[in-house]
Amino acid sequence: MMNHGGDGPAATNLRRDPFKTSVGKGAGQRRRQAAITIGKDRRDSVVRAKRLRRADPADHGDGDAMQLAAVAADDDVAYKLLEDSTAAAVLNLKNIGKKATPKKVEALQTLRRLLSCSAYPPVHVAVQAGVVPLLVDCLGFGASEDQLFEAAWCLTNIASGDPEQTRAVEPALPLLILHLGEKNPARVVEQCAWALGNVAGEAEDLRDWLLRQGALSALARNLSSPIITLVRTAAWALSNLIKGPNSRAATELMKMDGIVDTLVRLVSNGDDELVVEVAWVLVYVTSMSDLHSSQLIHAGLLPPLVARLAVSHHQPLLTPVLRTIGNIVASDNSKCDAVLAAGQSLPGGINGALARILETEHRTLQKEAAWVVSNLAAGSILHKRAVFNGGAVSPLLYLLATSTFDVRKEAAYALGNLCVAPRDQGEEGKPILEHLNVLVDRGCLMGFIALVKSPDLESARLGLQFLELVMRALPDGKGPKLVEKLDGIAAMEELQFHANEELRIMSNMLIDQYFGEDYGLEEEFVSGDARTQYGPEYPPWRRGGLAA
């Protein structure tokens, strides 16, 4: 996951900071490369699904470690000191041996603080010094709560690092799984769940291994705990475990006794932070199988879920909730019915909620909300009407005209779907004029023409399809007139020699059909009653008359 490519930004940093000690290899470069990686993460969508545990709220601190932390962020010399302290701490732990004494817990705690204190703790040093077998030895049954907790925390942070570091935690995995047992103190269970969540988030083969060792049920049982922080961490770890893409884990989860009711209950009653994690579990579960969605709907998931969508302002919560609803809605008409029904008790219903989200300034949310609307609008006539009248149209039009490319594409899908009858009635392609007229009057055509010009094949095709619809469906030839007025012909002509065959064919067909050689030609030879003979579809300049 950490690609060590791209020396550019690193080199630039060096040049910019001549007063810093020369870095070369080591901590500074590592951190810079990590920063680059995060930047690449955004672009390449490679996601670090691991979480480092930093603060212990009750921790009144080991002064030294804290001080080291404050400095280490920028200072390579201090970071070296941190690394050295860590190596020393591991050695210290080793020398204490296998006895369980208070000294051992102290040593673990010191090590834990060193591994928690900076954004990039010196995990590699600890691993190289052989810390993992020592930590595994600390996890035996009967060890004190403090010992288990500290050891698990150290393992958590080790597992939050690079892939090799996460994998270095492997010897501890069976014991971590066993320590998820309900009879352990809650904070121990939580910490073990956290560590396992980090491991699960690393790679599919690790997920598979954990599943074979029974980690799923052990984790899921903790969702029933009365301790909220534990449930939250367990839910997060679970979401990492079932993310697949193989759907086996999600299926196994959904087969567990009582899990469906537990999930619904948590969504209904949980606080925001908890619902965020549970919702991510639901995202994976609902995207893997329609059967799962049905089970959840049956258990009453939709009313509380839609309610959250309607009222929450918490973006991390809206994302998975929206996506869960999106997955449900993307399946079939009956699920759409259920979603619409669930929203009925809320002012504005589901469409009002979606409209609210379309109006946030948050690009990802807008994009996914438009996607949801597009799937709702791909349903029955009733669904389309509900969407059309539900308040989503205005924000969609606005987004189509002004937003970034990926949002515009989804908005286009949504608006276009509103204008075409459902497939099932054998009237495929039949336009819904009442919707189409309104949208065209409100100026959506420009946005679609802009899509025609897009380099993305799918978008260009979308644009052409909508133009075709408009030109075919609008009465009295209004369509081609409008298209021409908005420079649609030019846009289509650009595609006439496009590399992609389908686009070439489509654009050529449209131009031939609606703007063929006869287009406007008759005008030139026609007298004043051209209008009566050929209708108003010819642009004024062709008619040789007044400008329109």
Binding site: D41, G140, G142, W209, S217, T319, Q465, G516
Partner: protein, 304 residues
Amino acid sequence: MDLGKMKDGAEQTSPLFRAWVAARRPFKVDSPFFAAGNVERELVAKQISLEITEEEKKHIVQSEEEQLWEIFCPIVGCRTKLKGVGELESHYLSRHSATCSICTRVFPTTRLLNLHVSETHDSFFRAKVALNYPMYECLMEGCSARFLSDSNRHQHLVDKHHFPRSFRFHVKKHASQKQRQRQKAHQPSNSGSTPKQSKKNQRAKAASESAPDVHTDRKDYESTTPSETQNQDTPMDVDELVTAVSRLSTVSQDETPSVLRFGHRRGRGVPFGQKSRGSGRGRGRGRSGRDQEDDSPPLQSIST
């Protein structure tokens, strides 16, 4: 395609043109469509871990208030000092919940506790083992493998479940130096200790716990609070013991008894009968306070 057709409005285009079809578009979970949202999730999460959440704030406030509320654990024989309800609950769950009432070892699950009690304190179990029933169950839930010996099971754990080789389910408990001296002072009459489980304990007991400390050497059986002083370990087969003893590695010298004796005085009186599990057969119950000198444990059950 002549102009005439156009005037009529909703005529069909040539069938070669793929007209707009309103269709649902589900995306797979790892579709690039969701990538942006996924990345944001993790970036936000990283920041969250740096802040103290509402929940944790509540916890801090609570724990500061509770510093003032101190009690001792109400369970007989456990004299742990606790501050506040949270600590009481946590302590109870960790010490008195899946705790072996015989040797006070704690386990993360009821199942593991049951396995421990069967394998360590149950002579019926031992008998079955001697008759070559595969009695040793795999520790991992969902794995139904069973084995004839602890070492076979251990090998399975290492091979199939990737346990570290150093892991031990059965531990040999060793009192600290101080405790042993104290015991010697208490009971000059009896010496020697019963060797515990076959494998050496590499995982020392938590010395930080107060009352439920484990004392490995035999206790004063007249005591009426057996939980504190009780220690009951039936030795396993002689064969196994021999092999085990020969495999002993001395990590720290002072923890290995210098004299090994076989045979023992069996403990009596399981204090919290309801807590210790296992087959319930072949175990002495309800005989607190009575010494028993015979070496071989009775095979018949004595009901509670």
